[in-house]
């Protein structure tokens, strides 16, 4: 059976994010992911208050990155959350958002080694074990938490490129594929299979999630309008290979990127067209969304994450997912 996750960006006031999180739990979402960017509200503070107002839903950073936050600190944070909400915490880890990291002059160097070592550090330390590591990136000499830990925290790795997808499947408990279209997920699955094989894992043992940009409304135009800003960023950051797969003009994508860099939002958003929205989001009426989710499930994902913006009206869109999408996939 397919599971559903939802992503919130703590750019909103804490009580709004918490309100929507309670709503997400009530209507049956299985996972809740909170994004981690230094310029939004803090992910762990947000998760701590959400944990106090929810009882069942699993949650975690979606995703944090080891460039800005040292993995021992991530391990400490998720282990502390796990004390507040035992067995409900997951940890999403990825290389982070390039634009945000550039603001603090951090480069995403050696991403594969960095993620690989970070997963090991987070897994060992958050399980309460002592760790010594002389890695290529991290040197750890006898680190251990000073408090007892009851449960282990599953680590999900966010990935898009072939090597990172394979690594994610090899070392992660789950893979968060940055994609909304079945073509991209189908391609990603090949690398995920390779990685799983390398680690002698069965695909069934892995949680494989399509981390989508999602916008649902009864009126397509409203759903489209809400998703345009998110798609603009995705298009501008997409490698040529992916743009070409969807027959999207590389030149237009670069034009959008330049406008975004210069803060010319109106100009950037005006270039976002139907093909881009189709390629990089699940957007539209409930029927369209159901159709696209079904295609993703068919190519092998077992979790759909409804990511930003969710819809033109957050509360109504969350309810619409419950009443018009879940019945097609949940018992």
């Amino acid at each position: 059976m397919i599971e559903f996750g939802i992503e919130f960006v703590p750019r909103d006031l804490y009580w709004k994010t918490t309100f929507y999180s309670i709503q997400a739990e009530k209507i049956g979402f299985d996972y809740l992911w909170i994004t981690d960017h230094f310029n939004n509200r803090n992910v762990y503070v947000s998760l701590a208050i959400i944990s106090a107002y929810t009882e069942r839903i699993k949650f975690g950073p979606g995703v944090t990155n080891p460039y800005l936050v040292h993995p021992v600190v991530t391990a400490q944070a998720v282990a502390t959350l796990n004390e507040i909400a035992p067995g409900r915490v997951v940890c999403g880890l990825g290389v982070g958002d390039k634009i945000t990291l550039q603001m603090v002059n951090i480069e995403q160097t050696k991403p594969l080694a960095t993620i690989k070592e970070s997963v090991q550090i987070i897994r060992e330390i958050s399980s309460g074990k002592p760790l010594e590591m002389q890695g290529e990136i991290f040197k750890i000499t006898g680190a251990k938490l000073n408090f007892r830990v009851a449960n282990t925290v599953p680590v999900y790795v966010g990935a898009q490129g072939p090597k990172m997808l394979a690594l994610a499947a090899e070392i992660g408990d789950g893979v968060l594929i940055n994609a909304s279209h079945s073509k991209d997920v189908e391609t990603a699955m090949k690398f995920i299979c390779e990685g799983a094989e390398r680690a002698n894992k069965k695909l069934d043992d892995l949680r494989i999630s399509a981390y989508t940009s999602f916008s649902i409304a009864s009126d397509y135009e409203k759903a489209f309008k809400a998703v345009v800003p998110v798609v603009a960023y995705i298009v501008s950051g997409s490698p040529e290979m992916i743009l070409e797969r969807h027959e999207i003009s590389v030149e237009l994508a670069r034009k959008i990127g330049e406008s975004l860099v210069h803060g010319q939002w109106k100009e950037a958003f005006s270039h976002v067209n139907n093909d881009m929205v189709e390629a990089f989001s699940i957007c539209g009426t409930p029927e369209t969304c159901v159709e696209k989710i079904a295609k993703l499930a068919k190519v092998g994902v077992n979790q759909i994450v409804a990511g930003s913006p969710i819809g033109p009206n957050m509360r109504k869109s969350i309810n619409m997912i419950a009443t018009e999408v879940f019945p097609h996939f949940k018992e």
């Binding site: 006031l13 009580w15 709004k16 309100f19 309670i22 709503q23 107002y53 929810t54 009206n313």
Partner: protein, 95 residues
């Protein structure tokens, strides 16, 4: 105390509708940052327990909506035909 009295005047048949519309108003308000944290946490407490469409829940939602959107709150009560409440809200000191 004033808002408690006002909330009591909302007939039970309108609790769901009033609660839904007040929640939307508060969540979508451009003045949302004016919400006091204590009041926000009280609303979250009632929301978690499915008690926003009750007298106590409505009392808190009215407190919030009158802080964030006083004119729209009064219009909503008019729309719901709650004219006595409209009069009471108009007399409530604004913050």
């Amino acid at each position: 105390m004033a808002m408690e009295k006002i909330a009591r005047k909302i007939p039970a048949s309108l609790w769901n509708e009033a609660s839904e519309k007040l929640v939307d108003m508060v969540l979508n308000s451009s003045n949302a940052s004016k919400m006091p944290s204590d009041l926000a946490k009280t609303i979250l407490y009632y929301w978690q327990r499915d008690q926003l469409a009750t007298e106590v829940g409505l009392q808190r939602l009215l407190e919030a909506s009158m802080l964030l959107e006083p004119e729209k709150t009064i219009s909503l009560m008019e729309e719901l035909g709650l004219l006595e409440i409209v009069a009471m809200l108009k007399e409530t000191p604004r913050q």
